[in-house]
Amino acid sequence: MQRIFAADGLSLEAPESVLELESPNGSCDAEADPRRIAALIFDEQRVPVYRYLVSLGLRPAVASEMVQEAFLRLYRHLRSKGRSENLRGWVFRVAHNLAVNELKRTGAADAKPPETGADPGGDPEQALLRKERIRRMQTAIRELPRRQQECLHLRAEGLRYREIADVLGIGVSSVAESVQRAMETLARSCHE
């Protein structure tokens, strides 16, 4: 990625030093500018974090606010020389905890399933079938235990089992088991 984004005080083009911050194991250079690191990770991870929060049942406006709060906390974490390994997992964990607190505060999760996007066009019958399949899948996912839902959504955002375990504060084997059970349940529901 060459471009970060336009903003006062931050350049449009990411300098090479920023692009090299991310080491192969996902950690960042602790001496680098925390603001720049937070901005870079925000650019890369804000959409996955947002989708995860929406999938947990937060309303889009609240989820958007939570995303910003999570990344601001990341900036404060980096500024206070906090550990810089696995920052993606760190942000997801903070966002997850914020969402859980918000859901506890406001009551149950939003029952309305998120919109599934515009129809791709083409055959109306195929579009209808696709819509019906997605609706069935949404229903099946909502009926899964909470932990399995969380594992499934985090997995769908590309997190490794180790990262999911860190976010949810459980063991890797629990993550594997939750994902397996969720997948089996969903596969059965698709055949019904």
């Binding site: 903003a7 005080g9 804000r46 910003q68 601001l72 997605i134 997948m183």
Partner: protein
Amino acid sequence: MSNIGRKCVPNGLLVRALDQELAPRQAWLVKLHLDRCESCRARMEEMRRVTSQVGELQQGVLPPDDVRAFLARLEVEARREQPEGSRTRWFTLPRTLWQQLAWGGTLALLILVGVKIWAPHPHATVSIARPPQVAVAPPVQKQRVASARLAKPVRRAHRWVKKQVPPAAVASEEAATPFFPLPFSDAALPLDQASVIRVELPRSALEWTGLPVEENRREERIRADLVLGADGLARAIRFVR
């Protein structure tokens, strides 16, 4: 795991293979099995399809100005702290073990010095040393010699008593024992505002301090100085010859 090549692969392994969460050797064995097992291949495809459908559900479009809004908040957050260059750091938390040890040692030294300086004045808690429990009487010596051998608190009490005793009495050529605490007095009581009075007692009073008394001289009179506390109670006694 060695049975993977012959037996069908359980769903757990299939999902982990799909997520690339297997060790290389396990992944290779699963792949080997899938190449020749139609049933497992179908299940694997099913898992892949479900995964894809779940991915489709992960929807969400952020507001178009979210980046700008976040950067503005980041800017505000960054301005809350002083610029790094303009700040004078008088104190930074120790980070390395050596720094922490040095800080800890310095702090402990300062605390010790502080305790030494600010400890309460010894006059407030001076206590008179208990006499030895031996039955042998200490030789009656000149006051100057005796006081040199006394314990520090007793010497201090002695000096204080000297100041309180009338000059006429001190100047006289008297020999006196050191001050002994009386058995029934509380030695820890402060000596502030104490006074000394001269009394005459029967020689048997020597027994109060553990000194021997000759049986045939018990009724003889002997002079003594009594230290009286501010509460009027006698604290210590010395015998004068």
